[in-house]
Symmetry: C2
Subunit: 400 residues, 2 copies
């Protein structure tokens, strides 16, 4: 019997208990052990809950119980999750987490502690919810030099953008509806400003490079300025607008960014709609591959946490290899990266725009303005030219 | 130093040597060992090849060399691959293979021998080429009860169907062109008749159930009868025609089948075009997920074989869990499975068709015939009714 403790009995934590219970037979078979949830740590009580007798309020009860070999940290946030995880690992208890904030902020440190104590710190659920991506990167793409990762990493924003596209609605309208339906938080900033996607692409970039990519270094732009008009242009250009997390190994350094992009309709990410997420990986031998599924939600996320629990149970007393060094990777200044840009310019700025930009396509579908697709240029060059063009209404990056 | 032997220096085998050489640094880091290709077994010599001095003609040289810990079987076919793999495993040498024929025919037996000799029989490259799917099923989806798998599992047929769709061309025309370009074999039967996809869905079905699904038991239909006219109807119905391998856990038993299907344009598999493959997996907790990438080709397939080599190197002397029992799973008679059907009927059969079938949609786009979509019905009921309708031109199954 392998005893498990769940820290935080919220959406994901209660999902973990449910998954372990519902798929018990399959899970025990694959773990080659019998898993049992012995404790659930939460500040609250849950009278009437089928597992109410497992609920405890003191972390020390769990840490001091030598029977507990695996801890699921589904609390979210940095503290007290960080302290609890560290203490568990120091005691040789493996930790499985869905907490992307903590993984992005302290991943390498926690991995090091796990290694020193012959246990594991696993975080499959921290990126892409239920989509297997961390384990495929660590266990499957081992013969590859991964050259780029492009992901739709946040379900809330993808839901909003898909709805804007399909209904021709504006951002604020759709956000309100999403909040009413529970698809967006009352305080939606972490999602709509791209912070959540930024944590996730930071984690993926770290695994891609084996070094520590700090999320604070990644240029991040959200979707709050995207309008119904932008989607009219997107359609005309046979693209869709998606919030992408990107990471690329280029000749002159690594670049990473989170921003809304127009993505063409022959790109596999184009068809990823609603709350679904997908991670597009390009390897030097493999070429293109993509991992698709539910990027959030109670049971898909819990399923990923429990897959980590199974992996820990299979490797009790042994650390599974995860190459993520403490050494920080310095990213290229995003201004030195090159792209094509789409911009909307008021009619009166059109002559000036023609002088400033090398233009590859012009779209005229809205009165009083012109849509322009530039040739590839650096972000820096774009910013300099855009500063001379007060008639510019908006700009969106493009990805082929 | 971990010594590796490659059996068969054809497309995949030479790819394996190339991948190990090109990505040496990353691969050794992830293997926590230095890998070296010591032997290449082939009947031929390769004068001028950079690795010509590694080429040997006698399997015993490899089997008797105790330094060789890992063998890549990239010969294809049942014999002598089966005998060589068995002998290697009996000597405690792990075997990594791209040989779907052998895995589908003797997988459980070879896994058992590997287990008895504390080594591994791994076959990531046998399904989906470079797409990580075997390892995600065995290591990642461990908290799931997988309820269905639907795959585009053969690159050649998907290339042909995509080209037929885009160019309005007929099967034989496109096949000829594909053969000239080397995308299809001179003897294309294994691909176009669905035999290759059948081996692959048999392997996936076995991993899904943990039992032995024999490929001989899977009803298999190829794409040779699909015509340019069928694609005109497909387009009208907002679908595409894809050769699908399917496996489902239903209330009254497991069902598996390979056949061309009309698949609607909101299904993620709809956008999988050309030589790409994808495997769509539905789990009871996870919901829908999909794994996409290059299903064939020298380097992608070799990359998957080498990822197995890395896994073997990480687990020398230890067998990695793979639940695939020798016990045969008896599949449901395919005639008892239910679907919607599309059929084309000559105009003179239209009145009779209306009497025979419950019809949900009618399409009239070609003179002298009528296209019909039936409501869901069993294969058996369909066959019985179709036998009474000599005016039926063709029928294609539908998948939503």
């Amino acid at each position: 019997m392998v005893q498990v403790a769940v820290l935080g009995y919220g959406t994901v934590g209660s999902g973990v208990v449910e998954v372990i219970e519902k798929n018990k037979e399959k899970i025990n078979l694959r773990s080659e052990a019998e898993l049992n949830v012995k404790y659930i740590l939460d500040l609250r009580d849950f009278p009437g809950d089928p597992y109410e007798d497992k609920v405890v309020h003191d972390i020390n009860l769990i840490l001091e119980d030598e029977e507990v070999k695996i801890v699921c940290e589904t609390m979210g946030g940095i503290e007290p999750a960080f302290t609890f995880s560290k203490r568990a690992l120091e005691l040789g208890k493996s930790v499985c987490t869905s907490n992307k904030e903590l993984v992005a902020a302290h991943g390498p440190e926690l991995l090091e502690i796990a290694k020193a104590n012959k246990c594991n710190y696993l975080f499959e659920a921290s990126v892409g919810g239920g989509i297997p991506i961390i384990r495929p990167m660590n266990y499957s793409l081992t013969a590859e030099k991964i050259e780029s990762i492009t992901g739709i990493l946040n379900g809330t924003t993808n839901y909003i953008l898909t709805k804007m596209e399909r209904e021709g609605a504006d951002f604020s309208e759709v956000l309100k509806e999403a909040q009413e339906k529970g698809y967006a938080e009352r305080n939606p900033e972490a999602d709509v400003e791209g912070h959540d996607a930024c944590r996730k692409i930071a984690i993926l970039s770290s695994l891609m490079t084996g070094k520590y990519v700090k999320y604070q270094d990644i240029y991040t732009e959200g979707i709050t300025k995207i309008s119904a008009e932008d989607f009219r242009y997107a359609k005309e250009l046979q693209t869709s607008i998606k919030l992408l997390g990107m990471s690329k190994d280029t000749k002159d350094g690594y670049e990473a960014m989170v921003a809304p992009f127009m993505i063409s309709d022959d790109h596999p990410l184009h068809a990823v709609n609603g709350v679904f997420n997908a991670i597009f990986v390009h390897g030097n031998m493999l070429g293109d591959s993509m991992f698709y599924g539910r990027g959030a939600g109670k049971l898909p996320t819990a399923s990923a946490v429990v897959s980590d629990v199974v992996d820990c149970a299979r490797h009790l007393g042994k650390t599974i290899i995860c190459i993520w060094d403490k050494e920080e990777l310095s990213l290229k200044d995003y201004r030195d990266s090159s792209k094509e840009f789409f911009l909307r310019v008021k009619k009166e700025g059109w002559e000036k725009a023609k002088e400033l930009f090398e233009i590859q396509q012009v779209v005229e579908i809205i009165d009083g303005e012109v849509g322009i697709v530039t040739k590839e240029m650096t972000e820096r060059a774009f910013e300099e030219k855009a500063a001379k063009l007060p008639e510019m209404i908006t700009r969106i990056r493009m990805e082929k």
